[in-house]
Amino acid sequence: MAQNTRTVPVGTPTDVTQNHVKGGIGESTLRPDGTLKVTGEFAYSSDMWHEDMLWGQILRSTVAHAEIVSIDTSEALTMDGVYAVLTHEDLPAAKNYGMEFQDTPVLAYGKVRHHGEPVALVAADHPETARRAAAKIKIEYRELPVVTDEASALAPDAILVHENRDDHHSGHVPHPNIVHRQPIIRGDAAAAAERADVIVTGEYTFGMQDQAFLGPESGLAVPAEDGGVDLYVATQWLHSDLKQIAPCLGLPEEKVRMTMAGVGGAFGGREDISMQILASILALRTGKPVKMVYNRYESFFGHVHRHPAKLWYEHGATKDGKLTHVKCRIVLDGGAYASSTASVVGNASSLSIGPYVVEDVEIEAIGLYTNNPPCGAMRGFGAVQACFAYEAQMDKLAAKLGMDPVELRQLNAMEQGTIMPTGQVVDSPAPVAELLRRVKARPMPPERQWETAGEGADVRALPGGLSNTSHGEGVVRGVGYAVGIKNVGFSEGFDDYSTAKIRIEVINGEAVATVHTAMAEVGQGGVTIHAQIARTELGVQQVTIHPADTQVGSAGSTSAGRQTYMTGGAIKNSCEIVREKVLEIGRRKFGSYHPAWANAELLLEGGKVVTDGGEALATIADVLEDQAVEVEEEWRHRPTQAFDLVTGQGDGHVQYAFAAHRAVVEVDTELGLVKVIELACAQDVGKAVNPLSVVGQIQGGTTQGLGVAVMEEIIVDPKTAKVRNPSFTDYLIPTILDTPTIPVDYLELADPNAPYGVRGIGEAPTLSSTPAVLAAIRAATGLELNKTPVRPEALTGTL
């Protein structure tokens, strides 16, 4: 069973003094789960196993929009090895769930609203038996017209994806097929447009991206003697899952005990529930442990995707390059169920003009209900689509003004003190111009790297690579730049907090700390830095990271770049309280022996209580003896405000993150093949708590942006709303051959409001990567290219 308790080994030696523990913040300590992960011992959610377990299988809809006329399970039920076949009629309690809107059926009833929606459920003693039984369930559909875009969603006779909506946005939206609408009006864009010497407009299309985490949705549900269930799953937020699961099982939350199983990547795709409720229902129904594992095909239907978007922009500038105004309209396709669409709309709207100073704006963002696959969270969350468009606009504007595109950006770059379109003042460093300067100043990668000393070309360095499609003929280089702005943490007045339980005690004569949080480790390295923070704050060498579960308070989601800030902040805060308690015990015990104990500035360092002058007063072990100190506390970032529904004004965000990219590409203009040669990034990270992990996050985020630029898109048939490429054969993500070198240059400009000055890092690099690559391809080809991804046919005119 997954018991991922682990003592954190200390990483590479550094030059810390004797008095300090090694492996505190700022050091590149190594992952505590590294050894388990390289030996194959790490227990991912799909590795769970239990004596006598059954396998669960979902039957999903083959059509996008239809009434369910009948479901016949009789043949499936008679198969050997089948233990249960369930439909919506068998659901024990609440029939719907959802993070922000409870609009998602556990199993479809009445209607299906998108291709691949769960309709029935099987448990059998072998996964193949379960699959075959599911295939024997007969469902009769009466197909309905599909809503697939803004025109079909808002037409006068538009069919409603959800009738009788009653949610927190249904009262203000202009149409029931609009999940949420967020306008932002500031200044007078119409009047400002009169002052513009140059105006550029553009229409942009952003394709649907998949998170494509490698560990499939999976887990194990074990029925318990008390009528509850023990659930081992991979998720981004245990407590959010719990709140949605318990009502659907008809159980109180304390009878649904959740433990984090190993998570094989997330990127937003595990914010929503996948198999959690279904496996639990099967386990409770059969009285046996039930394992569920999606295959890759099912995974494409098993989680939400990044919202595809249409974006219209108008930018104006004076002849010397100062932006006069921006007008934009962003239409995000939320698909059949809301997921986090409303929050994505808020982000897209509030971040829609990018990291620039613009006083006069007219912004509108809407999220639609359609019969396309549901869309929700993915790394970058609404800011990615906008960045692709506003950065294309900045290049267009620079071209029309005859200016250098980087200089135009620097001229209009926001800085600390700039007012956002929402009226919020950016009150910590915003080194936008400096990030651009850094990527631009970097030396260019050498030209014609495919040329070898001998004869012939190394085709591996050319577009087309091992396909040997070119030896350099028709290959043109291009360079492009982009910069972006992303919010960090949960916004718009959400009560965003994390909880940390910290324990310090003496084991074998040494003070050791235990960190217990519900933080989802999805690969980002939270477990590494949790130990670093505890070492720094408590001055102990040995730190044990307790498995994440629901026996401790919520950590909030591992998303929005928030965990180092939030759970890191919670750990720091709880450690500070623990430290005070330890010092209190010390003062009681030893206070009379040394006047320094009365000094308020005592620290815990190197396993000792020391004065700020460095004098050691006692070991922590002597202070504590057999006493343990344990603290569990919630910790919050400063509050935010909702955006006004008419003007969009409000201090909606906690913190902003900035990254810039320079892309160098080579394009085989005859075949339309693109090779990205280098994708350099500069980013302000506030404080690099673990430099090795920081660079890894930036490189990973950059690569996901590269994928969108040149290959990634879930293709949905506009006539049927069916997904056409649910596999890694047809949905491509970058391989090591597609990914260039990614030099990273990070700044550490502390945010005074954040613990240690940290700034969320995971998302910003995913924003500017895509438009930088697009700009470079435009520079190489002279083509306009207003759509992601850029496929060969877009470059050769054979579209």
Binding site: R6, T12, D33, P216, N295, L466, G525, T729, I733, T739
Partner: protein
Amino acid sequence: MRVNFTVNGRPQEADDVWEGESLLYVLRERLGLPGSKNACEQGECGSCTVRLDGVPVCSCLVAAGQVEGREVVTVEGLAEYAKEREAHGGCASGACGTSVDAAKRWEAKPAQDSQTGEGVELSPIQQAFIDAGAVQCGFCTPGLLVAADEMLERNPSPTDADIREALSGNLCRCTGYEKILDAVRLAAARQERQGEAV
């Protein structure tokens, strides 16, 4: 059906195997070796890479019956495999591959501490992945390790282009591959230094 084969040097017997089961399924669900991963189960991602008679293959594409009487090495046996290889002359010559006799002489040893993995002896490529920061979520790691180890066996001093070519069948979604390249370079450099020291 019953399938007899050798995994990480140990003879194994899997019973009641359905003819449609893959080697990956048998390893993961019947033999308790879940280290080989199931990211796509269609031969596109490389996360299930194992060595079959020395050759790297996607175990999801190998029918269980095809391994009858053959030798399989998984990530769980990688450290021992590398140790044996070094003990028996390494592979600097480029004429590599482990003979069946050699493979049979060793067995994978379980981790000393199954909770933390601490105290476990690692192969150079495994250690390099940890040291270089090449592991994030880690789901692609086992397949990459098996593939990278096999490449270093054939080509102890690979160029970047060689590394990229050899690992092009292994998808990673977290790292952007930069630190994976670092890890392979590091393992090659350490291997070279060790070779010089000998």
